[in-house]
Symmetry: C2
């Protein structure tokens, strides 16, 4: 492909982006689309302001860009939580380091590449793009030191910036922890693999914790079995019918609340006046303990006590009494709490194998894409020859735009599948599932977009060659310059256009309209509050960072496209965080270690590739200067792991103790204890995404049952009913997470 081919591709994408962005700036002003484009704001403020006039509504305006630009990090942190701030930091970090790289590479490296060979240069628009890559430099060139210098400067800047970011994000995480004393998950320990005591799991828990943690143990809440959905729905409906009786409905709320707090062991329903109904329920309660899971949420009096209990090996059999910090109430992934602990490692292994298999299987579509890119090399097929002879712009379109569009479409389905794999792994928190899926998608993208595309010829036709490890740098060095064009178009399609689509939210919009037209706004198809799809967006941003690093010196022409992407991404994501996505749960900045590792891998990959290039160009001096750089980068990574990672992995005792001390002084502990013992961990979903027959039951029962369920008085029916609700909705995925619009 030459410059004009690239410009064709860029033109198409710029056109698409402009249209979509303009459309967005119009659509967002329509009051009917408020729920699509302002989910976050609606969640915060229920009142509606005065909208713009009818005429203003129809004119595209850049006001959202200004607002996004003006958003400060504090606002982002306040609205989107720490994860949003970290994500924004990742984008800004990429922008900064790639700006440095762009300045160096375009003013230093690009001229060296362009004039690297004594050749006749064509007109600039007909020039092949490969002239701008390092492939154009002759062997044993005296100018290789320029590349080596650029490599040193970029690595040094990246490491310095990374260190600063690490430091400030660590501080942010600590501030986040101290700044959220109301997080009840810090008082709570999730205990799994509770041994059966003969009576019930609940008794085992009470016995164990009153014996070993007498001073700090507060109470616990047992987890109930999912499954047996039908019976539970039936029970819940029966219960609803009992509660519907008008004479008791008035007293119901308060009397239950009292029960929930006074700690009576729940074997009977005191507030049920109907004798026959009550005796019927009693039968249910007798096989109540059979529905218990060997898992419980145990509440402690202080955060430090919970922390200590969570990190300690409790039993001589490490497969029993397994403790870990519980997620926040909104973050709990109830369906996985009942997974037997002894099966977890099998599930993890299975999920790992499935992910790897999926990753390998995906080489098939990638190779199809590659076939299109290298179409000019397949000219012995007659239809290809015809195509290339017939009309030039079609050929440009097919080789320039189609491959990356196809790849984007194929990759469309990856995040939902990875979410399923991550759910199978058995995480107990939604945020953990998302984080795990993010890592999987990242590996997937790096392998299938980066490596497989570069090495594709080798991967498919000469698999044995790849197996010899020392050839890989050479293969990469050969591949990168020639693949630069493909990556440029990939950035244009997957990067720019996806951002515009992210802004537009076409699928949410469509579902919202369909909902409105067909179901009278009952939210059968759409779901109001979405959480940010980190599992698709973070890997994409990191992949583009990787492309930026690896191509910066070998093919500097890529950098301007990437910089535009990151700048656009910076605006779009800020806008989305502030307006569209609701923050229900937070990992507390745990995406940062992933980003850090990805950046280090990118840096080292860049160095290894350049080592290969220097080897190909027979520049011994440059090669010998690169090797210490690789070692230093790795040492820097090891140091950062030591210095920063533990704060992301473990709780800091000092911080927790200080928080406990403060709360003790301000007497807030009692308030938290009350919350814990009443409605904090509620298996009910407080989503507005309700549907089906249980909707009415839910509304009536929620207020009473949640308070009734916790502590020693666990109400089986409430739980049954919740479980039935959850088991339908929440088994493997949230509706918001598999939303097809969120693919890279």
């Amino acid at each position: 492909m030459n410059i004009s081919g690239l410009l064709t591709s860029a033109g198409i994408n710029i056109g698409v982006c402009t249209v979509l962005t303009s459309l967005y700036s119009v659509l967002r002003k329509q009051p009917s689309n408020l729920k699509v484009y302002f989910g976050q704001r609606l969640a915060q403020v229920q009142s509606k302001g005065h909208g713009p006039s009818f005429f203003e509504r129809l004119v595209p305006s850049p006001s959202w860009i200004i607002k996004a630009w003006q958003t400060s990090e504090e606002d982002l942190f306040a609205v989107g939580g720490l994860d949003a701030a970290v994500f924004s930091r990742v984008v800004i970090f990429s922008m900064r380091i790639l700006s440095v790289a762009a300045v160096i590479c375009i003013f230093l490296v690009l001229p060296v590449n362009y004039f690297g060979q004594s050749m006749h240069h064509k007109k600039i628009q007909l020039e092949s793009l490969e002239v701008f890559t390092i492939g154009n430099v002759i062997e044993r060139s005296r100018w290789m030191w320029v590349h080596c210098l650029a490599l040193y400067v970029i690595t040094f800047c990246a490491c310095a910036l990374l260190y600063i970011e690490n430091k400030s994000i660590t501080k942010m995480r600590l501030a986040y922890i101290t700044g959220s004393p109301q997080n009840l998950g810090r008082f709570t320990v999730l205990v799994r693999a509770i041994p059966w005591s003969g009576k019930s799991y609940s008794d085992s828990v009470t016995q164990f914790f009153t014996k070993y943690y007498p001073s700090s143990y507060l109470s616990h809440q047992i987890v109930y079995l999912p499954g047996t959905v039908r019976k539970l729905v039936h029970d819940a409906e029966k219960m609803y019918n009992i509660l519907k009786a008008p004479r008791i409905s008035k007293h119901c709320g308060p009397s239950i609340a009292r029960c929930g707090l006074c700690g009576v062991t729940g074997k009977s329903f005191r507030f049920l006046p109907d004798r026959s109904a009550a005796s019927e329920e009693k039968q249910d309660f007798d096989d109540f303990s059979k529905m218990e899971c060997p898992a419980a949420l145990v509440f402690f009096r202080t955060r430090y006590a919970a922390h200590v209990a969570a990190q300690t090996l409790q039993s001589t059999n490490p497969m029993l009494w397994v403790t870990e910090m519980a997620p926040e109430p909104a973050d709990v992934f109830w369906a996985n709490l009942c997974v037997p602990y002894r099966l977890l490692w099998v599930r993890r292994l299975g999920s790992l194998i499935a992910s790897i298999a999926f990753l390998i299987f995906f080489l098939v579509p990638v190779s199809v894409v590659q076939g299109l890119v290298h179409l000019d090399k397949l000219k012995h097929f007659s239809f290809v020859r015809k195509l290339s002879e017939q009309r030039n712009w079609i050929f440009d379109l097919v080789t320039g735009y189609l491959p990356s569009a196809m790849l984007t479409l194929f990759i469309f389905c990856v995040p939902p599948i990875m979410m399923v794999f991550s759910a199978i792994e058995g995480p107990v928190a939604r945020s953990c599932r998302k984080k795990s899926a993010s890592i999987k998608v990242l590996y997937f993208l790096i392998w299938n977009v980066f490596f497989a595309n570069i090495l594709s010829g080798s991967v498919l036709q000469r698999f044995d060659r790849i197996s010899s490890l020392k050839d890989i740098p050479l293969q990469l060095a050969k591949g990168i310059p020639s693949m630069a064009v493909f990556f440029m178009t990939y950035i244009l399609t997957s990067g720019w256009t996806s951002l515009a689509l992210e802004l537009m939210q076409p699928i949410s919009l469509l579902l919202h309209w369909l909902d409105k037209c067909l179901f009278r706004g009952k939210h059968v198809l759409s779901c109001e509050s979405q959480t940010f799809p980190y599992q698709t967006e973070l890997p994409r941003v990191l992949l583009f960072g990787l492309l930026g690093f690896t191509s910066s010196i070998t093919a500097p022409l890529l950098l301007p496209f990437l910089l535009v992407y990151f700048f656009f991404a910076h605006l779009v994501y800020r806008n989305q965080f502030m307006n569209v996505y609701v923050t229900k749960y937070d990992t507390g900045g745990l995406y940062w270690p992933i980003a850090h590792t990805a950046v280090i891998v990118s840096l080292m990959l860049m160095q290894v590739i350049l080592l290969g290039v220097f080897g190909l160009k027979k520049s011994a001096v440059a090669s010998s200067f690169t090797i210490p750089l690789i070692i230093c980068t790795f040492l820097f990574h090891l140091y950062c792991r030591q210095r920063f990672l533990p704060v992301f992995k473990r709780n800091v005792a000092r911080v927790i103790m200080d928080m406990d001390e403060q709360d003790e002084h301000s007497e807030k502990f009692e308030e938290y204890h009350e919350q814990l013992q009443s409605a904090a961990y509620c298996q009910f979903k407080s989503d507005n995404c309700e549907n089906g027959t249980l909707e009415v039951i839910n509304e009536r029962l929620r207020s009473s049952y949640c308070s009734f369920k916790s502590t020693t008085l666990e109400s089986p029916l409430a739980l049954q009913q919740e479980q039935s609700y959850n088991s339908g909705h929440d088994r493997l995925q949230d509706p918001e997470d598999t939303k097809p619009g969120n693919a890279p």
Copy 2:
């Protein structure tokens, strides 16, 4: 080599073993050698029994064998600690599983191998040994199912036995923990990277722990800088001169003891009557805090409190206030306590790289050895041809005995070097250093004895071939049968003869005699109490296990030799544990996870090699049956890691709490606290291995200073003096550990 060559080699070794064993049975009866052969007993009981008569002393007798055989595991546990019991278990486990393998392979597999090809068999003693290996079976043989069946039976038995052993050793470890409430290390936390408070590290520690652990913090003991040895020796001698003054020597002991226990902050020496001397000392004490290390031993009131403090991340900067459980007093490796924590990872990395470099460098002697084994293939060298033509038994000797003897000699120097590498890593416990060295030596042996010998041709001549990973099973499959002969002779020399030498202790004996003759028994050269050299013996036993597994089916003739070895080892090691070696410190069974992993690796290696063999013999059915077995073995390993490993890695809260509760009832806590605050952690060496000028000083000062040093009243001179002593002796290695007699 044929059967007669093997018999020559076996004959030489049996002769050597018999002579050495007889010599041992005579030498051990000589009263003058008591210290060499009964170090352990002497340490336990000081009284001498009546020895045998003069005539009895000169007659070899098998009485030690009977005694060793009758030793029960309880005795071994009582005398040698848990590590000895675990080591003995490893030997017994190997014996058991190889017995099973021997029965199956000799009665089932060996006939199949021998009659695997329709060929004319020579007389049995002229038969080449390769006839007995799997190499003799023809391609596409119908009898391959026998090998596959044997593989299944051996794997199944090994896994079952391993599970049982895991279970019982876990129990033993727990019993060991509960059975040793007097272990003061469980009350102690080692704190490193203490930040400088402006006054002293000691103040920082007091501040920090009284703030965050007010109820459980007892006291602490700061660690002092090593180095500046000369000044310290000088100070110690000056101190000795002061103490030598007769008028104070009588009151010294008690007055110091009182000081040590009453908790006066030690800035002056109250018991020094000489004003001038005291003021001189005072000056020294003023720059006393400059000699502090940023490390301290912090004592807690209960074990659980110490455990919690040890496993918690204390500071927001993970490189400060790093805590871990302290080793037992006798186990502390004082020289490493002062290593700055921030340098530890660099040291670890450096040690790792050095070990790998050493491992690779060692291929040179291995290739020389290989040259000797394949001497018949080097017949184009004239002297080789001459040698092989001249006399047959010399040739047998050179190809049969010399290579393995040379390898043994080369490997002789490995454990001391690995001990140095392990010391550089910065472990704070001697037992940890030994464990780390064991792992290094094990890797070394597996790589250099097993892989390098099998693949040597490939490694040296065709290094590029090895880099293609999938060829490795094939290479191993080709290598194993032909290398079986070499391994047999290796077992004979390195196994049998080394055991006999271990029994004889020739070097200790020599040093002991030299000491006696030249230095009148002052122990200048020899050291009375040795600890068991796990770093040489455990890797050797595990390597022989690996050889047993990998050769069992491919070359079953190896198994009888190995069984004899393990039986002999069982007797010898028991004898040595009961009589020779003193147990000063114990890892608490942490050698078992190493052994477990080694067995699993051996099993999987056996399976992979047989997979390669089945591939070579084109037996698709057998190959396809082997692959699930490999997967199942790996799954079994993963399960065992989950089920048993945590007990070896972490403290079990339940056990510790129960121990604390018992001690609280029996009011033993006060006793322990007193011990901790007085003489428990003493940087003085209580070894009898004293030498040089400090000997007399040591004896007088020890009783007073140890008590004086701990708690808040740290006496600088005592510490200086200890440090000076330690820095000379203890910097990187104990004398007992580098004892040259302990090489595999």
